[in-house]
């Protein structure tokens, strides 16, 4: 039977606030265990939470960027369950009245734009971490992460393939990074994703029974986990079985999903409004203030790049995938670089070198001015495009100015016709046989002669002039 895949995502994004959600502790990643804690975030008796306004603003920003309705009145609720990494025995979250509702983000599927609905975005606090000491009969708890602001984004079941799911998360990640509300680092866990998956026979309206997949902590694992789970469900159904509603954990070592708990074992979280916190009221003044902080978003920027700089869609898409990259590019344009040439160099040489060192554009040692200067040298015919690649790499590694490199290494292009003519005559003299063949009609030997001349001039000869003079000489 043919099945249709139905996927909905629950994405948790750690917010880039300096301090935790309900206290003044630092949110920095990687500190010694339990050093970034205080009586509030370790749940001592009698202490009270105080809302981090910045975190609320970050969620509203995300809501606005994903076309959500922002609730003028929302509130925090307690989600009650026992676990050692949850110091209060409840997580402060949102339940009935989340901050944002009914939005969407667009992805491109088969060249066509598709909307994935966002059901809600709410704010909550993260839990700590249990560290299970191997071969010991105890576990340790690190509460540094307890109370870090966490944004939960829940999508509609609009996604129809694992690839669409990955596209959506990548898109969302780009938006979050543009807004500077989350660093989007899946490996460090600052962006985590659970997926609800089901399949149904083509044409059937009702959804199939879903399972929830947890613990797939990278794009690659998530795609694999979804693919595995879909195959598993189809196999069960084709074999006449039934899907059990349950939570399943992705095991990246074995490449399978495994049952963690069934619906019957599901927690009753006993949500109720947190009496320690007042409702959040978002008035127009506050909302307008937040709106004003939203930068140009990737979609809009991409369209503008196509319109303003006449870049192909592909270039525009790539250049706007990260805000700092787009900024690097635009700085180059502002300094007088030709847009398409800049784009080619960025997507080609620059990306290659950055990827080699696993660096982001923010860590790029090269300044846009240097690339613009290099382009200028090419335009003026001072160096050839081929030599430029050498200069570019050296510029990237040493940080030196392109002109300096060209001068120091004597890479200035030879445009002096007399000098080139001398080199040509030398080459023709050394290769009489080839000259004969060429004159007899073997046209493709032209490349051979050009290569020989370039070699003789250490690549510095102006290729245009070399070509012209060669043709002249050979037809003499």
């Amino acid at each position: 039977m043919q099945y249709e895949i139905v996927i909905g995502l629950e994405i948790h994004a750690q917010l880039l606030t300096e301090t935790k959600m309900f206290c003044g502790c630092s949110t920095k990643f990687g500190a010694e265990p339990n050093t970034q804690t205080c009586p509030v975030c370790i749940g001592m008796p009698g202490v009270l939470p105080v809302i981090n306004k910045k975190a609320v603003e970050y969620v509203i920003k995300t809501g606005l960027a994903t076309k959500c309705k922002i609730s003028p009145y929302s509130r925090f609720a307690r989600k009650n369950y026992f676990y050692p990494d949850l110091p209060k025995g409840y997580q402060i979250s949102q339940y009935e009245l989340p901050l944002c509702k009914d939005g969407y983000a667009e992805i491109i599927v088969d060249g066509i734009s598709k909307r994935v609905g966002i059901t809600r975005i709410h704010l909550e606090e993260d839990a700590g971490k249990n560290i299970h000491a191997e071969e010991e009969n105890y576990s340790l708890v690190d509460l540094n992460r307890a109370g870090v602001p966490l944004m939960e984004i829940v999508t509609e079941p609009d996604i129809r393939s694992p690839q669409e799911a990955i596209k959506f998360i990548k898109k969302l990640r780009t938006i979050l990074r543009y807004l500077d509300v989350c660093d989007g680092n899946m490996e460090e866990g600052s962006l985590r994703c659970d997926a609800n998956v089901s399949v149904r026979p083509h044409g059937q309206r009702e959804f199939g029974v879903k399972t929830e997949i947890k613990n797939a902590n990278s794009f690659k694992f998530l795609e694999k986990a979804l693919e595995y789970e879909i195959k598993r469900q189809i196999k069960v159904l084709d074999g006449g079985g039934e899907i059990i509603q349950e939570t399943r954990l992705w095991d990246s070592v074995r490449g399978i999903t495994e049952s963690m708990r069934s619906k019957e074992e599901a927690h009753d979280y006993r949500y109720f409004p947190d009496p320690d916190l007042l409702p959040i009221e978002v008035d127009n003044v506050w909302l307008e203030g937040i709106k004003a902080q939203i930068p140009e978003l990737p979609e809009v920027k991409r369209e503008r790049f196509v319109r303003e700089y006449h870049l192909p869609e592909y270039d525009a898409d790539l250049l706007t995938s990260e805000k700092p990259l787009a900024e690097w590019f635009e700085e180059g344009v502002r300094l007088g670089g030709e847009p398409k040439a800049l784009s080619n160099w960025i997507m080609g040489e620059l990306m290659r070198l950055l990827n080699e060192e696993n660096k982001s554009i923010e860590e790029c040692p090269l300044k846009p001015q240097q690339l613009v200067d290099l382009l200028e040298l090419i335009n003026k015919g001072i160096i050839s495009g081929k030599i430029a690649k050498t200069v570019f790499e050296e510029m990237y590694r040493s940080g030196k100015e392109p002109e300096g490199i060209v001068r120091e290494r004597g890479l200035v292009q030879i445009s002096d016709e007399a000098e080139i003519e001398a080199a040509i005559e030398e080459v023709l003299k050394k290769n009489p046989e080839e000259v004969e063949r060429f004159r007899a009609g073997e046209d493709k030997l032209m490349g051979f002669f050009v290569g020989q001349v370039m070699k003789a001039t250490k690549g510095k000869a102006n290729p245009k002039i070399v070509n012209e003079l060669l043709r002249k000489k050979l037809s003499e």
């Binding site: 009586p39 009270l48 105080v50 009650n80 110091p87 025995g89 006993r270 949500y271 009496p275 007042l278």
Partner: protein, 491 residues
């Protein structure tokens, strides 16, 4: 008069004038404690060493010219209010050895004014109870009759004030826990408007109802302490940013023309006759001072106890989840995590606390939430509206504080429902978030104190203090002190 019998205002005056020194007063209190504490058992922890040091320091400060409104005044603090470096147990085994590394906002404010902490007072475990018999350590006795309970949950604080074991005390009130023991011990207890006083550092029982307040020998002392502990606190989002008046400035003002609401639902069949008579007499007394009694109706009063026991237990079931043996406090190890949780909580909490956790967990459970928690929230709104409506026609509402005077130890421990009814007149005030004060208004034939409750509009503590003070000054009830023997009092 003995030094330990001094009111806070008198002690303040004597210290300022140099008639007595902080060290003398502190010594006098500890001598008194030595003499009577064995009988009363008001304290879980006594802080004699730090109090003595503090008293000496205060004397140095006074000489230096450093001023404070509570310089050298010995005050007792209920043991659910966190005091930095001093054990805070909530009279529970689960926190028996818990030493908070932080100070509650209320006691921080007392500290700034130079108070001397005498000790931490006994209470019903986690403030759940009306007799202080639910303390995990020992029951406290009523100074007026040692066979009887002092009320609760702030029974230790009320008994300590009544017995002269401190000059004044702080308690907390979730459903009557300041006013009811104050009434039963013949002292003054004030529960301020919800949001008046920061709850930061008050170990939560039911967060939407809890409020700290003073327990004192007279109304003036109550106003003095209120002046100090009130005010907005950025660490408590539910504390309200509203100016704090000088509550003593209204004391002595005329109460002519004050409209006195008398709710018909509070004078019910089966109420203790002596209590009812005392309240009727008090209303007459107020009338003779110029107040005008007007019958009002608070129609949803009959639902208050049920509503309270759903909301308070729901919040408590969540508030007490943190005592899991993982981070601090009591732990019994188990074969695995679940076993440790169960053993720790089974062994660390007393029966009443467990009863309420179970009740609250049930009320919040999926499938029951709508019928219990949400319904109770709706009734709470109706109760609030009852008061708002009544306060359109009256300035204050007067009721008995407690349906009976102090009962005997063990009399109601077997019947939780009977115990819950001890708070029938005080609970609505917490649900509505309004302020209420209990002041002495007479004695039963067995020489047990009776309390009059005066309830005010939100953030109008001034009017209830004014009325309370006018009544108090026209009577001598507040001057009586217990003899610490059965049935006799010292004059």
């Amino acid at each position: 008069m003995e030094l330990y019998d001094l009111t806070l205002s008198k002690a303040q005056l004597s210290i300022t004038k140099g008639e007595i020194s902080p060290v003398e007063l502190t010594d006098a209190i500890f001598k008194r404690i030595e003499a009577v504490e064995e009988k009363i058992k008001a304290y879980v922890t006594l802080t004699k060493d730090s109090a003595t040091t503090q008293a000496h320091l205060t004397e140095v400060n006074i000489k230096k010219g450093i001023k404070g409104r509570l310089q050298g005044i010995p005050i007792a603090i209920k043991d659910n209010i966190c005091t930095e470096g001093i054990r805070t147990t909530c009279s529970s085994k689960i926190l028996e050895n818990f030493i908070p590394p932080y100070e509650s906002t209320a006691t921080k404010r007392l500290k700034t004014e130079g108070y001397i902490l005498i000790g931490k007072t006994n209470m019903d475990e986690f403030a759940m109870g009306s007799s202080t018999e639910n303390s995990a350590f020992f029951p406290t006795k009523n100074p007026w009759n040692l066979e009887r309970i002092p009320g609760g949950s702030s029974g230790g604080s009320a008994a300590a004030v009544a017995a002269g074991e401190c000059i004044a005390a702080l308690g907390s009130d979730t459903g009557g826990s300041i006013r009811q023991p104050a009434a039963l011990c013949g002292v003054v207890g004030l529960k301020p408007t919800y949001g008046r006083i920061s709850r930061y550092g008050l170990v939560a029982f039911a967060s939407s109802l809890d409020q700290i307040g003073p327990i004192t020998k007279d109304v003036r002392d109550s106003a003095i302490l209120l002046n100090i502990i009130c005010g907005y606190d950025p660490y408590d989002s539910t504390s309200v940013q509203i100016p704090v008046p000088d509550f003593t400035s209204v004391l002595g003002q005329d109460i002519k023309g004050i409209r006195l609401g008398v709710p018909k639902e509070y004078f019910i069949e089966g109420m203790d006759k002596e209590v009812e008579q005392a309240i009727r007499n008090a209303i007459k007394g107020l009338e003779s001072l110029g107040a005008i009694p007007i019958e009002v109706s608070l129609p949803h009063t009959g639902f208050a106890v049920a509503t309270y026991y759903i909301l308070a237990t729901s919040e408590a079931s969540s508030n007490l989840a943190r005592y899991d043996g993982v981070k601090y406090g009591f732990r019994i190890d188990g074969k695995d995590l679940m076993d440790m949780y169960m053993k720790t909580r089974a062994g660390g909490f007393g029966a009443e606390v467990k009863r309420r956790i179970i009740l609250g967990t049930y009320a919040l459970s999926s499938g029951y939430y709508e019928a219990y928690y949400r319904k109770a929230q709706q009734v709470r709104t109706l109760i609030k509206q009852d008061f708002e409506k009544a306060f359109k026609t009256v300035d204050v509402i007067v009721t008995p504080t407690s349906p009976t005077a102090a009962f005997k130890l063990g009399e109601k421990t077997e019947d939780p429902l009977q115990m819950y009814l001890s708070d029938i007149f005080t609970i609505s005030v917490n649900l509505a978030g309004v302020p209420g004060i209990s002041i002495p208004c007479g004695f039963t034939s067995k020489n047990l104190p009776i309390g009059l409750q005066i309830i005010g509009k939100r953030f109008d503590e001034e009017t209830i203090l004014k009325v309370a003070y006018a009544y108090e000054q026209s009577t001598k009830w507040h001057k009586r002190r217990p003899s610490l023997k059965e049935g006799k009092s010292r004059k």
